[in-house]
Symmetry: C2
Subunit: 400 residues, 2 copies
């Protein structure tokens, strides 16, 4: 069943933004103030203007330069606004709804990232990387099949698609002690990011079902990684500067509501999970994912290859009583399939750089200056798709 | 040289808050709005009221419920306000300066913690813990003497002294796979926290000298740790839920200006540091530290036992281009001397629980429900001391 919009470009089978999607973002036009919007075809609904015109009621939160105020209104209001927007934009809706051409808009970081937590929940990825860092016998940590392993990332360096990424400097392992150098093994990581819209209290443990109710939506997330900095620094307390220089997210937050029809089972479990991590219904979504180098797609995978869902990760995040806040960003972990052409990072695809790949841009072990990486994702419906829009970043030379 | 105040309780040799200190905090009285204050003897200068009365000029930032707005005004304004406060509170100052009795005030979290990063910079602590977790041959990681190892902590669970700490639940290693249990090895960590008051840009690497200029002040910091949760979860990506349930800081931020006379050399270096970490002058302070269990001091140490200063840690934090923000909190890492009675954690003092200690409250390997831990610290001047006030937390039973 396709739903048609009076915005004609929303009705094709290949648009990322049909009427069924309605992802949220933050945009500005002509140097004006950033405000909240929703993508539809090749246009953006100006939610702030809609609110001012009395077409929507979100307590003024759409005039903010990020979605946090709107997310904080809670699930009931999210559903109301989705329903109202669907009515306004449907074929028989209100053609006076204020929109701007996406081509005329600048897209900004859609949320104020309160804190950023990154997980490690693809078994293919965890095994592949584990082999490279610790050898095949220690590849998968003992607790891996029992809990979604996560670590705190850095929120201040989360940027929106299109922001250039400066190759980081750092300490690398050398023959006679460390050397100070530009990163030589710069990598991408293809991930989904879940955005928390409903907070939890300190000391409150949330169930997987409650956690799912806290998630507002999802973005594509590129967790850029400096593999040589990481190898030297990461034991025993985890990655630090190797991942602190930039994390890129897509500008449109695809809501859980839009993804609901694509709910899907994940991988078979090696062992039963402890009760607090058990799901009553499938928690993943059937989302086709890909990443490209300078426009050439080099790998394709699917979100259903993951071992843990974002709801399980969020439940685990609160197991100790850790409070979650509006704007918390949870990276899924690199999403890799079982084969080299389905890996979400060059580290895996090139076997730690030992097997360079041939691309239309030449041979690559890791990323070169000037390379543009794109992440792409959509859930395929019947005659329409729920897309994320691209998540792009270009590597600039290090500032030595 | 002692400086006298018209606030008589500020003039004794044992007060934490003489005229030379003037630490900043946030307080409220009688259920009123939290606002900024400065401790002097047994009283608090009401900075918001001072500003309203025209005695101080801080652009209204003292009426905020945290110090971030004031910190964001920058070093020149910090110096101006310190000079003005010193004049107002000196023996010949203005006795109409609005103050409240500390006994009548509620103290709040002094800053909005933007992000929390914890380091691992005491060689004694790193070695002692390394032996317990990985054995003596792998105790000190190879990069330890070359860089201040750090990891991102969780900001949302940073609480002010006096907040009760609920014993966390979590996954523990069991004989037949993990078990879900209350933490059985609950520990403290005695640390100092440095607070960033001047931000840095993305892609900007700051030198150690520049980093020092970015630090507003210091607090005592108890990085509560669930050692059994930590042991099961922490490889390969570092501590997560084991430290996410609570981190307690003292309510008063002792400024770098007040600590300046106590600047001091640290430990001898095992090897030269890379240039970006080298200090032009000593970056530690001679601060006597102690921790107590139910009022009984169990260990004493000094901040000069550290291998890396907060300025070095902050410089390292920006080496990849990671931007720092007003309100970033940097934990020093556990501060341990070389002997059991100078260790900053029970893990070290009891050899991982194998050698319980006798205390006035009975035998302890780790913390019991009802235990109150206090951190204490001051720099000793000639006839006065620059104190932090206590940093207290009491353990409540787990919510199973």
């Amino acid at each position: 069943m396709r739903m048609k919009s009076w915005v004609e470009t929303a009705n094709g089978p290949d648009t990322d933004f049909p009427l069924q999607n309605l992802p949220y973002g933050v945009f500005s036009t002509g140097g004006g103030a950033p405000r909240c919007g929703v993508a539809i075809g090749d246009r953006i609904v100006d939610l702030a203007a809609c609110e001012q015109a009395g077409l929507l009621d979100a307590d003024g939160s759409f005039s903010a330069p990020q979605l946090n105020d709107f997310m904080a209104l809670g699930r009931a209001r999210w559903a109301q606004i989705r329903e109202a927007l669907t009515a306004l934009l449907a074929e028989d809706g209100n053609r006076d709804t204020p929109t701007v051409a996406m081509a005329d808009a600048t897209l900004h970081l859609p949320i104020k990232v309160t804190e950023f937590t990154d997980f490690y929940a693809s078994k293919n990825h965890a095994f592949n990387v584990g082999v490279l860092f610790r050898g095949p016998e220690n590849a998968l940590p003992a607790q891996w099949t029992h809990m979604p392993i996560g670590y705190n990332g850095r929120a201040s360096s989360v940027v929106v698609s299109g922001t250039d990424v400066i190759r980081p400097m750092g300490q690398l392992r050398g023959d006679d002690g460390p050397v100070w150098s530009a990163c030589k093994r710069l990598d991408l990581e293809l991930e989904l990011g879940a955005i928390v819209g409903v907070p939890s209290e300190m000391g409150q443990r949330v169930s997987v079902e409650e956690a799912e109710e806290m998630i507002f939506g999802y973005v594509l997330l590129n967790d850029w990684s400096a593999r040589d900095i990481q190898a030297w620094e990461y034991q025993p307390l985890g990655p630090f500067q190797a991942k602190a220089f930039a994390t890129t997210i897509s500008p449109w937050v695809v809501t859980q509501a839009a993804l609901e029809p694509f709910r899907s089972e994940g991988a078979t479990r090696d062992n039963p999970l402890l009760p607090y991590l058990q799901e009553k219904r499938p928690g993943l979504y059937d989302i086709d994912l890909a990443w490209s180098l300078n426009g050439q797609v080099l790998a394709r995978t699917n979100y259903t290859t993951m071992y843990y869902s974002s709801a399980q990760q969020l439940a685990h995040h609160t197991e100790s009583g850790c409070p979650m806040r509006v704007g918390d960003l949870l990276g899924s972990g690199t999403i890799s399939g079982p084969t080299p052409d389905s890996t979400g990072a060059l580290l895996e695809m090139t076997q730690g750089g030992k097997s360079p790949i041939q691309t239309d841009s030449g041979e690559r072990s890791f990323l070169l200056d000037g390379d543009q990486v794109g992440l792409h994702g959509h859930a395929q419906g019947d005659g329409f798709r729920i897309g994320f829009g691209p998540c792009l970043g270009t590597i600039l030379p290090a500032k030595e």
